[in-house]
């Protein structure tokens, strides 16, 4: 540990940092290409476009009906956030406080939708939803998106609840609070930071959730990411700059919420569900 001493150690460190910087530079350059192209008049065979304009944003807004798409996106995301909180938080409370037989099995049941990729379970799920008549509708999209988010909320919330002193709940019970009042007046205020973090993570993940929405959405229930996919898929029909303008709108929507979320959560939580590091 400590500082690197030998030359080979320094070279090794330099090589690693070079790799990291190379990765970040390429990613930034890729994102910059999208942004610059969306403002460019004509960009071919040069480092930068010939001129700059904002007209692609107006044309993208009309061509792709972005107003409707954004409304659908926020409806889906809002419903998913609300419902996954309503399903997830009480279940997490039960799992954090009780040690009933079969608990391990229940936790495994909640782990599976997070570990199995959406492409694998999305097609059978969409088949069932279409049979029920929910396929291609807004509610179908919301239901499909809830499948990974409900377990996600549960697994994020369990450690949060476990760190609350059970004596606080015992005291509330002694004073005659039922489970409902206990939740409303004691637990929700105490858990507010945890619930906020979990729901913001759900929000960011749902905006970017492509597969499940793609399989279940109809023409008027597409979210932004699915609309972007169709636009890129049919590239050539529309101007590339127009597609990139839409991509920029998507980037802004996603990154705005990411920035808000990062005020409350550690970035690694977007990947790992529970905090592995000891809390301070």
């Amino acid at each position: 540990m400590g500082r690197d001493k030998t030359i080979s150690e320094r070279l090794w460190a330099a090589a690693i940092w070079t790799a990291v910087i190379f990765f970040i530079v390429n990613f930034m350059a890729m994102a910059a290409t999208v942004v610059i192209n969306s403002f460019g008049t004509r960009w071919f065979g040069a480092w930068l476009p010939a001129g700059y304009t904002t007209r692609w944003y107006a044309s993208a807004w009309d061509e792709f009906q972005l107003g409707d798409v954004l409304i659908t996106t926020f409806e889906v995301v809002g419903a998913v956030v609300l419902l996954s909180g309503l399903f997830g938080v009480p279940a997490a409370y039960a799992l954090a406080r009780r040690n009933f037989p079969g608990k391990q099995l229940v936790i495994l049941l909640f782990l599976l939708p997070l570990m199995i990729p959406p492409i694998t379970f999305g097609i059978p799920l969409a088949t069932v939803l279409y049979q029920l008549g929910a396929g291609g509708t807004l509610s179908g999209v919301i239901i499909a998106n809830l499948v990974p988010t409900v377990p996600f909320v549960i697994l994020v919330m369990i450690p949060f609840i476990e760190q609350i002193d059970p004596r606080i709940e015992a005291a509330a019970r002694v004073f005659g609070a039922g489970t409902g009042r206990l939740f409303l007046h004691v637990l929700v205020p105490l858990l507010a930071p945890g619930i906020l973090a979990a729901l913001l993570l759900v929000l960011v993940r749902t905006i970017a959730m492509f597969e499940l929405t793609f399989f279940t959405a109809g023409p008027d229930s597409q979210t932004l990411v699915v609309a972007l996919y169709y636009a890129v898929y049919a590239a050539g029909v529309r101007a590339g700059q127009s597609i990139d303008a839409m991509a920029v709108i998507y980037m802004i929507t996603t990154l705005l919420w990411l920035l808000i979320a990062l005020r409350f959560v550690d970035p690694t939580q977007i990947v790992t569900r529970a905090k592995q590091e000891a809390a301070r």
């Binding site: 790799a19 290409t33 039960a94 009780r98 694998t120 799920l125 709940e169 690694t268």
Partner: protein, 304 residues
């Protein structure tokens, strides 16, 4: 509460009310709160999976195995497994291997949060946006080819998009941050005092890695490999947008999608989804069987 389930004064089984007996096993009103979520996951995850499994044995024509026979006799279909493996395995191995030295470095860094924030952006933006961005960036007139030509590395533009290379690069761009953040969380979970003890005893950095970190990390790396592999194995948007979806990046998810949404054969689509799940499961089981060759035990050094 678990802490308060002290044994009641012993009475005979029949006289204890059933509510109390259930409560002693930690089943009461609070436990029931888990039910809505359990029913939801059973109804919308377990049931569709079982439904798809049964449906895959009810083909539109032919006997119960017709879908699977068709898949494994038509090279246009069974080659998709190979095409997917050819992308998923190298991408996962590259991502996991690079993530280890980088995470070991970053662990000692002071402003770790800045780097993890930057790396979480590609994950958040998702594969569709990365595919669109790379189409421009990797194109013959894109910045990457221009830079390489400017520095004289190549004389004519490389073909990087609409083929295997493009999909591979997108899998690394979107997959590496995910793999790295998982590795980082496993490495920071290892108690630093174990390594300090070894350093005090004169172990070199290489020896500390070989004999202390790697055995402790093996478990986490195996899980990391599995999670990253199943993600890359189900690559879809970038294989369509950035690859050659009719050629060498015709991955298995494209075959499943076409069966479901172009041929409207739900039974065949379910069969392909089951095959996809089965291949993922087989690789995961192989990796998890291999991990037992390494040390298993606490990495926390007594903290549990």
């Amino acid at each position: 509460m678990t802490e308060t389930t002290a044994p009641l004064p012993h009475t005979s089984e029949e006289r204890t009310p059933w509510r109390v007996r259930l409560a002693l096993r930690d089943i009461d009103g609070v436990t029931l709160l888990v039910l809505p979520a359990v029913l939801f996951v059973i109804g919308l995850f377990v049931y569709p999976f079982l439904y798809g499994f049964v449906l895959s044995f009810k083909p539109r024509a032919g006997d119960w195995l017709a879908n699977y026979r068709k898949f494994f006799s038509d090279p246009f279909l069974y080659d998709t497994i190979y095409a997917t493996m050819r992308l998923a395995l190298p991408a996962t191995i590259i991502n996991v291997l690079i993530s280890i030295p980088v995470a070991l470095r970053v662990r000692k860094m002071h402003r770790r949060r800045l780097l993890t924030t930057i790396l979480v952006i590609p994950i958040t933006l998702g594969t569709v946006l990365i595919a669109e961005g790379l189409l421009n960036y990797l194109g013959p007139q894109g910045w990457l080819n221009r830079s390489l030509m400017l520095f004289g590395v190549i004389s004519s533009p490389l073909r990087l998009a609409h083929n295997y290379t493009g999909v591979m690069l997108s899998l690394i761009l979107s997959g590496f941050p995910f793999t790295f953040l998982l590795t980082l969380s496993y490495i920071t979970g290892i108690d630093a005092s174990l390594e300090q003890a070894a350093a005090t005893l004169g172990a070199t950095a290489r020896a500390r890695f070989r004999y202390i970190l790697l055995p402790l990390l093996a478990q986490g790396l195996a899980i990391n490999f599995c999670l990253s592999f199943v993600q890359t194995f189900s690559v879809f948007p970038s294989a369509v947008l950035l690859g050659a979806p009719a050629g060498d990046t015709r991955v298995i998810s494209i075959a499943a999608y076409q069966a479901a949404y172009e041929q409207y054969d739900a039974s065949m689509a379910a069969a392909i989804a089951m095959i996809m799940g089965f291949v993922q499961l087989a690789v995961v089981l192989l990796v998890l069987a291999g991990r037992n060759l390494f040390y298993r035990g606490a990495a926390g050094g007594g903290k549990g």
